[in-house]
């Protein structure tokens, strides 16, 4: 009876070694999806348990973080999203529409590089995005998944990842420009 024990023990050891280093990233994504301490903790635990149960199907050498995020997102969509009545997210179309004009008023590109907004403001702008769009930037811009990995995680076509990313980035740009304006930045001509 020791052989299966040793095998199971080895499997758990390997799983912890491969998957647990991503705990922080996984928890951060869970938090940014749910914005609820308890839900994000449950979501992370459930993700790890389910990942452990299907660990045999995980191919060594592939992106473990992307695999964990795929499981996380599928649990999130099936369990958490439906029960939460999230306040109506911003209209992404509205923000997108303002993109060309904000781009113009932002002026020369070197003006875009400064940090004109706080982390809290970036988090706020991100949180205001509709979930599908938020998830795309979380996975690609922050967690640095490829489009293909993100498409698998979000269970959507690569083309959809591409368009959601683009729309989300434009909307975020507009939101961040609003913060920048409030922080005192005015018109391009006013800059040295």
């Amino acid at each position: 009876m020791t052989a299966p024990d040793a095998q199971a023990e080895e499997k758990r050891r390997r799983f912890e070694e491969v998957a647990l280093p991503f705990l922080r990233a996984i928890h951060t994504v869970a938090w940014r999806l749910t914005h609820d301490a308890e839900e994000s903790r449950d979501l992370v635990q459930e993700t790890y348990l389910r990942a452990y149960r299907t660990f045999d199907a995980f191919r060594a050498g592939t992106n473990c973080k992307a695999w964990l995020l795929t499981i996380l997102y599928s649990i999130f969509v099936n369990r958490y999203r439906k029960k939460r009545r999230q306040p109506l997210a911003i209209s992404i179309e509205e923000l997108e529409k303002q993109f060309p004009s904000r781009l113009e008023s932002a002026g020369p590109s070197d003006r875009l590089s400064g940090r004109l907004w706080s982390d809290r403001e970036v988090e706020e702008a991100l949180a205001a995005l509709p979930e599908d769009f938020r998830a795309a930037v979380l996975l690609v811009d922050i967690e640095e998944l490829s489009y293909e990995e993100a498409a698998t995680a979000l269970a959507c076509p690569v083309g959809t990842v591409r368009s959601r990313l683009f729309r989300a980035r434009k909307a975020l740009f507009v939101a961040l420009q609003d913060y920048a304006r409030r922080a005192g930045y005015r018109e391009p001509t006013g800059m040295p």
């Binding site: 799983f15 299907t54 199907a57 599928s74 590109s109 811009d141 683009f166």
Partner: protein
Amino acid sequence: MSDEHVHLDMEIQDLFDGRLDRAERERVEAHLAECAACRARRDALASVRGALQGLPPAPAPEELGREIRRRLEEELLRRRPSRRFPVAALLAAAAVLIIVLMLASRKDLPSAAAGDFGRYRGGTLSLELSTSDPHELEAFFSQRGVGFRTRVFDLSTMGYRLIGGRVHTLAGRRTALFVYRGEGNRTVLCEMFLGQTSALPAGASRHEHGGILFSLYRREDSTQVFWQEGEVTCVLVSDLTPDETLALAYAKAMKAASPSGTIKTPRSVPYADRRIAARLRGPADERDPG
């Protein structure tokens, strides 16, 4: 969008994300060199990414890692065979042997499913109800007392039309059987029954998608993909390629797991399925729905 550079919008992002081949990259770069407005677009994308990447990770609760390790340990103990009661282990082994013998005496599930598919294609297995309405078929199954709740999905957005179904028997199990047809007479047969995928024979190629395990077999010129939905085992059989069959199984399983059970939102349709659906329906559908 009235901007005159709208035709380069997405390509600027493609360049930014390193998704262009060399020729396209050179073309977009040449355009950027000429066009300040498009450079500003690129810089806008960069400023957004910079802002996002500058965010610190959310502080993880300290006990979270410990809690996960504890639950993994529990999981390990739960599955560990009993050492204290060798008699129980012996009895369990005897029970397994009996089940194995019982199973061996009947056709294995993948072969039985392949057989049903072959008989349906050959015209010797008829449907009891012809309908393209999933709800009507669900009501029929429930009326016929299959003993579990069936969820028949509309796969029309994937290019597969529901043909109808029947109450059937698969290797001694009562099943809800239903059939879809796609272009070129492509046929997909689905059966659902009370059971566990652990009853499946060895030799499957195993695939995981969204935390669900799929077991794929090849028998008699068709592909059989099994997975578990609660207390019900599902099998999808077709003579499409194994990859295509698997993609349809993913779509159906993810639909079952999703709250609405619909397949209308593109978010819930795996990439491979969309590709297949698009190919079956022609180029007009390649358009991005998001």
